[in-house]
Amino acid sequence: MINFQYLRTTTSKSALNLISKDKNSKFLAGGTNLIDLMKRGVTSPEKLIDINHVPLKQIEAVGDQIIIGALASNTAVAEHALIKEKLPLLAMALNAGASAQLRNVATVGGNMMQRTRCGYFYDTEMPCNKRQPGSGCGAIGGFNRMHAIFGTSDQCIAVHPSDMCIALVALDATVVLSNAKGERKVLFKDFHRLPGDTPQLDNNLKADEMIVRLEIPNNNLNKNSYYLKVRDRASYAFALVSVGAALELSDNKIKDVRLAMGGVAHKPWRLTAAENFLKGKEASAENFEQAAKLAMTDAKGFGENNFKLQMAPNSIIEALTVAKSKA
């Protein structure tokens, strides 16, 4: 049997000490992704460090920020009054993900760290550069209906599957990481990586680090937020395309706007050009269309996912329109 050691810790300090000692160990949070990957033989850590009892579950307002602990469950965050009121985009994105049962155990940190759902990545008999660098990319020239249209490389065209992360990148979150020596902060938009020549790396977390919390600045976007998820069935399916849209409106003028897309890239995809275009303009159908068009510069399909070239801009328009129409 492939044996592994199971260790349970109750403090970040001991968790970080354990991980610094052993390269081939992994944190176990909700386990909804890690255990599946172990069962499929995609990963086989020698040690599992259970961090579920580490007290990092806080959800609170501190100064002009909202702090969310890395071990808060997806459900706890989505149902928290503070989040529903101040960051409804995040609550909506979380509720669009997975199923109620999964959200109950899945954690914020685990959600950020979940791996792609690319079928070739999961099947150890298939080529996949992300799982086995140098083996080739099965999805290029294969089944790539779910795959990326932005920021791809000839090594990998996978997407990051998270819904939550789309909201977080839109909301200018900061990720706080810690190792045994201390903490560092990374902007959420810089946490995940593009595949480039290192498709095996999903993000910039170092081997000895742990995600400890998120810091999200207060905003005035809560009235007009909407998370649109387009998928093959109404629940319990990953996004074909998703859009997080949040507007701060003054009369019908756009004072501030956030736009990010899921299901289209190896990382949560912030639509900066479209945002810049919209800022200061009327919240009108024409401007939404224009913004959607701008967002699609550089998009590229791989055959089966070509439909995203149309679905993505359509979804941007729809998300902005619904966000605007909220009372």
């Binding site: 759902r117 079928g119 999961y122 387009v230 069935r233 629940s235």
Partner: protein, 708 residues
């Protein structure tokens, strides 16, 4: 306030067991010395095994044996010529990717799983093709007749009709995927006695297959299958992996349990075959159908042939003097398909019922009116009257319930913001069968009745239906009746399939109860009791603890005189998002015309389940293969999308509930298949009515809406 559960006579007899976990499924039986089998599967698609290194696996902790073609446990039938080319462990040939090539048996499941990963095979590889549509289009590819060609009147009459429709329809592979994984526990005991706990739609069929493969007397084999967690057709045969498990048990002299993984469910227990179909329809301008041509290609495997009734419906469902059909099967390098709920008829109905809608549109007629206009008076294929058919009434009921009058004939007329609304209708039909079955009835002096038959219940509620039939004949409360099934030692009954169990076994139950009733009446008369006396009192008076009757029952010549079918009409309202392409089914009304409804609750559940399966077929389900490798790419429940609760709207079910005068003593016809047959076309037709987009390739996913 205290919540009360009100029991009534129509409740599922096993409902309480199912919801409390007391229902015991095959994998839950604990046998002394039970061992665990895990399969090793081929990683190539076609070729031969050149070497199989099992040494590491054999040395791994807990491993008892590795069974493969190298050590061929005795299976005399496999030593003979003929039959399927895929004789498990009696061939080194690889016919498809994921084919079982060895079974590792260990003392725990985890150990067997690990050891299975240590078995290393090498192969010589041959060129292969898993792409069915490519094979259909390839003139060089092998093609076989699936059914004799059929012709009535003029061939291809549609081509010269006043109005003509000719279109092609595509269905992908669908995988049954019941919740319960497939498998078996096999216990080969001394003196060649074999006990199995199976997941099967037919305990007698499983018993017969095992007897045949191992050439041992049928009485030596006991098959138990009291509860089945969904079959949908995939448990209608005894699969090679089950034989492999029996072989393993024989070899090691211990009981072996095999439970497939969800991934293996895609490659070892069949699927609804992919299909490409062309329908040609011709009509006069007044809407009279003048020609129907249905040509279908269905997927099959290279090592065994599989055919089904894809083109049946075209031959009789509409009044039309000129009909021709052709059905061809095309082998590809995949596992052999099997019937999936509604089998071939569901495949055919998608094409035919879509085309009927296309023709109505071409004629600028309401599709419901068009159907009613061409509703057949008699079965033209067999030149016989229908035993019973109330389609027009079913149309009326369904149309009213769905709000058909709101529908506009011009597509795209009903708009609410970005959502476009549409209505669709289709018909489903399936042969109303009645086979032969025996039932034993034991009437006891304590007032209870036990009925026994070797049928199965794969979920529809067989025990409930049988109990209700008996209860009505003998006037005994349902609570006093026990129906025993799922045990090969009980009186003969056919496998549960083709919507025939209620009709077949139910008739035998009826006959047994009638016989018991007359026996009791005789006893009463002999002992000078009133003819209305309670049967328990009659037995007591006669000092009889119980009386027993066994009856065999089967159809008579009424089947030669009448054409017998069950019908369903499906009405669907959908909305389609014009920007995202998302289709949402907004309302479903299904009307069943299948004779007497014996068991109203479970009958309704059948229709509801069929509608859910139909939504899956229409909108979400598709098994996807990477043809470069011949491997499935979405073989799990995250990626193979069965509908979830959020996909399913209110489902209204109505029954015509009029006895068929000829089919059987209950006047009841089967309805498991009709619940699904035709449904996908109703959705596609509604999508067209909403958007003007005609999607002829299932499933109708958002990308297809945007692309058309």
């Amino acid at each position: 306030m205290e919540k009360r559960l009100i029991k009534d006579e129509n409740d599922r007899v096993d409902g309480i067991f199912k919801v409390t976990g007391k229902a015991k499924y095959f994998a839950e039986y604990e046998l002394p010395g039970l061992t665990y089998g895990v399969l090793v599967t081929s990683t190539i698609t076609k070729g031969r095994i050149t070497s199989l290194d099992t040494r590491a696996a054999e040395k791994a902790p807990g491993v008892i044996s590795v069974v493969s073609h190298l050590n061929k446990p005795s299976a005399p039938a496999y030593e003979q010529e003929g039959g399927s080319a895929m004789k498990i462990f009696y061939t080194d040939k690889i016919f498809y990717n994921g084919q079982p090539i060895a079974i590792v048996v260990a003392n725990t499941f985890e150990r067997a799983t690990y050891a299975a990963s240590l078995v290393k095979a090498t192969y010589t590889k041959d060129a292969f093709n898993t792409d069915f549509e490519k094979a259909v289009g390839d003139a060089q590819a092998k093609k076989l007749q699936g059914q004799p060609d059929y012709k009535r009147g003029i061939e291809n009459a549609y081509q010269t009709a006043e109005v003509k429709v000719e279109e092609k329809y595509h269905l992908p592979i669908e995988t049954h995927n019941p919740m319960e994984l497939h498998g078996i526990i096999a216990d080969w005991r001394t003196n060649n006695q074999v006990v199995v706990y199976a997941k099967t739609q037919g305990v007698k069929a499983t018993q017969g297959t095992i007897a045949n493969v191992f050439k041992i007397p049928i009485e030596n084999i006991q098959v138990n299958s009291e509860f089945v967690g969904g079959g949908f057709g995939m448990a209608l045969r005894t699969w090679p992996v089950e034989i492999a498990t029996v072989m393993a048990s024989r070899q090691i002299g211990k009981p072996v349990k095999l439970v497939l993984t969800r991934m293996q469910m895609f490659t070892m227990v069949g699927n609804r075959p992919a299909a490409v179909q062309t329908i040609g329809l011709g009509a006069k301008k007044d809407g009279t159908l003048t020609g129907i041509t249905h040509r279908a290609f269905g997927e099959t495997s290279v090592y065994e042939n599989f055919t089904e009734g894809v083109v049946n419906m075209a031959k009789f469902m509409y009044q039309c003097d000129n009909v021709n059909t052709q059905y061809t099967v095309v082998p590809v390098d995949l596992g052999v398909p099997i019937w999936m709920r509604g089998p071939g008829e569901a495949t055919g109905a998608f094409a035919l019922e879509s085309a009927i809608d296309e023709m109505a549109h071409a004629l600028d007629m309401d599709p419901l009116e068009f159907r009613i206009k061409n509703d057949p008076e008699k079965d033209q294929q067999r030149d016989k009257p229908f035993s019973d058919k109330n389609i027009k009434e079913a149309y009326r009921v369904g149309a009213q319930k769905i709000g058909w009058s709101e529908r506009k004939n011009k597509p795209g007329s009903l708009v609410d913001g970005q959502w476009k609304m549409g209505y669709g209708v289709s018909i489903g039909v399936f042969n109303a069968n009645r086979g032969r079955a025996s039932v034993k009835g034991i009437l006891k002096a304590d007032g209870s009745l036990v009925l026994q038959s070797a049928t199965s219940d794969i979920g529809p509620g067989t025990g409930t239906g049988m109990t209700l039939i008996a209860s009505r004949v003998l006037k005994i409360p349902a609570g006093k009746i026990k129906f025993e099934l799922g045990d090969s030692s009980l009186p003969q009954a056919p496998s549960q399939g083709g919507s025939a169990t209620l009709s077949t076994v139910g008739s035998a139950v009826n006959d047994v109860c009638v016989a018991l009733k007359s026996t009791v009446a005789e006893l009463a008369a002999n002992s000078n009791m009133d003819a209305t006396a309670n049967f328990a009192d009659v037995l007591k008076k006669n000092n009889l603890p119980s009386i027993e009757v066994t009856k065999q029952s089967q159809a008579g010549k009424e089947r030669d005189e009448y054409s017998m079918y069950s019908f369903s009409i499906h009405f669907v309202k959908v909305k389609v998002h014009s920007l995202t392409g998302v289709v949402k089914v907004d309302k479903i009304v299904s009307v069943g015309d299948s004779g007497t409804i014996v068991s109203p609750k479970t009958a309704r559940s059948q229709m509801v389940g069929g509608a859910v399966g139909g939504v899956g077929m229409a909108l979400t389900e598709e098994s996807i293969i990477d043809h470069r490798f011949g491997r499935y790419i979405n073989n799990n429940f995250a990626d193979y999308h069965v509908p979830v609760n959020a996909d399913i709207p209110e489902i209204e079910v109505h029954f015509i509930n009029k006895p068929d005068p000829y089919i059987n003593p209950m006047g009841a016809k089967g309805m498991g298949e009709i619940a699904l047959i035709g449904f996908s076309a109703a959705v596609a037709n509604a999508v067209f009515n909403a958007t003007g987009k005609r999607i002829r390739t299932l499933p109708i996913t958002p990308d297809k809406i945007l692309a058309s």
